[in-house]
């Protein structure tokens, strides 16, 4: 079979001829197509999240009740404020990035350096905030009981507000040693013991008639979790399997474990993008300082890395909407 071989530019690259497909340089166009494919990857993840959310839409955790912490405000119920702050930090670092690109167009090395530095600082602050958010989610806030079939039971006071296990559980005299490698079968380990035993929680619950429980089920009229009266609640607790504090890939005190899985995976994947963006920004930052682009005659590299950085911001806008708002 005959094959058509391009002979005109003899296999030379993009720079070999005068043609500029789509009016963009090779690097910029490829950055756009990389961003397109990455956007589709994120859509796949968020789509999977949407599928599971629709599947369990009558029992999904309510985001306002999960992310309620704000630095230096201990015990204050502050839903959304912290993630709003994170959003601002990321949008602002996008602004400094686009200002760096703009300064690059004017070949203003000093300004590019300054704005790139601000962008890197903004990205680093965002990463730190993300770590703090994860820490709070992993450590948990109230504690809950997991039932044999995996459902989560949370405790509420007479007004229906969630209460912590510490506020009503009294320790009972008992001995329970953590199974570590040197205190038992050497190749087996045990997950960290919860601060209270199931028995302690059940006994303290019986002793406190003022408190009650709520299930994961959402009341569709009020869009809030269903509260079970105290006298019916004991039947639920007798089905208990474990006392849960915090969230991880196996169990989640706020409700569906899937919620924790998706939260860790999607915000983790986004955070990894932010991390790589910060690293690439640092590399470009030093290239700006040593004058690479000054010698090259243009700051297109800043523009290309800027595209990636804005994309990271764009993804966060969607993550913010689907995890925290809707």
């Amino acid at each position: 079979m005959e094959v058509t071989i391009p002979t005109e530019n003899k296999g030379a690259s993009w720079d070999g001829g005068n043609n500029n497909p789509l009016g963009a340089s090779y690097g910029k166009m490829m950055m756009w197509f990389f961003i397109l494919s990455d956007a589709l990857t994120f859509s796949g993840f968020l789509g999977a999240y949407g599928l599971m959310r629709f599947k369990f839409h009558d029992s999904w955790p309510i985001a306002d009740e999960v992310f309620t912490h704000f630095p230096f405000l201990h015990g204050v119920h502050a839903p959304m404020y912290y993630v709003a702050l994170m959003t601002f930090i990321l949008i602002f670092s996008s602004v400094t990035m686009v200002l760096a690109v703009d300064a690059g167009h004017q070949m203003n090395k000093k300004k590019v350096t300054f704005y790139m530095l601000l962008t890197i600082v903004g990205g680093a602050i965002f990463l730190g905030s993300q770590a703090w958010e994860w820490k709070n989610f992993i450590n948990g806030s109230y504690g809950a009981v997991q039932l044999n079939d995996g459902k989560i039971i949370q405790f509420v006071d007479a007004t229906g507000e969630q209460i912590t296990l510490e506020s009503f559980v009294k320790p009972l005299p008992s001995e329970r040693t953590q199974h570590t490698a040197n205190k038992g079968i050497w190749f087996r380990k045990e997950a960290e013991l919860s601060p209270f035993s199931l028995n302690e929680v059940v006994e303290s619950f019986k002793a406190n008639p003022g408190i009650s429980i709520r299930t994961e089920q959402i009341n569709p009229e009020l869009k809030s979790k269903t509260i079970v009266p105290h006298n019916e609640a004991l039947a639920y607790l007798l089905e208990g399997k474990a006392v849960v504090k915090g969230a991880n890939l196996q169990v989640n005190e706020y409700g569906k474990t899937l919620f924790a899985n998706f939260f860790f995976f999607i915000t983790g994947f986004h955070g990894f993008h932010v991390l790589s963006g910060v690293i690439i920004n640092i590399i470009i930052f030093f290239n700006v300082i040593i004058g690479t682009y000054e010698r090259r005659g243009h700051y297109e590299m800043v523009e290309k890395v800027g595209l990636y950085w804005h994309f990271v911001d764009l993804v966060w806008v969607f993550v913010f909407t689907f995890f925290y708002l809707i």
Binding site: G23, A39, F54, F88, D313
Partner: protein
């Protein structure tokens, strides 16, 4: 390549876009915290009006970031369409199928889920 003198600065536009994005974010957060019952507990087009507002505001934000921060407005129409139309079409397609499937699974599953003991 372009020379320094030829390029006008877009600084003013950048700050304007930042102001728009900030106002939208503040509006979203305010609505998300207060959750007015008339928007949150009513239903329109299969979901609450609040969710529709969030979705529209998110898309507006995405538009401003792509068009003015990523300078999509300055690219050729062909590049713009190659990127934006591809993404919009494929994402709508994927999301539609997944969400229809999700609500179908819910229809089948939720009558079998036990909530009393």
């Amino acid at each position: 390549m372009t020379h320094a003198q030829e390029h006008i600065s877009h600084t003013k536009l950048i700050w304007k876009v930042f102001a728009i994005l900030s106002v939208i974010t503040i509006a979203e957060v305010a609505l998300g915290i207060t959750k007015p019952a008339s928007l949150h507990l009513t239903k329109i087009l299969g979901t609450s009006p609040l969710n529709i507002i969030f979705l529209v505001l998110t898309l507006v934000k995405a538009y401003y970031i792509t068009w003015f921060f990523m300078h999509m407005a300055d690219e050729k129409k062909s590049l713009r369409r190659a990127v934006v139309w591809t993404a919009v079409f494929l994402i709508i397609y994927l999301a539609t199928l997944l969400l229809i499937e999700g609500s179908y699974i819910n229809d089948v599953l939720s009558p079998l889920t036990k909530w009393n003991y």
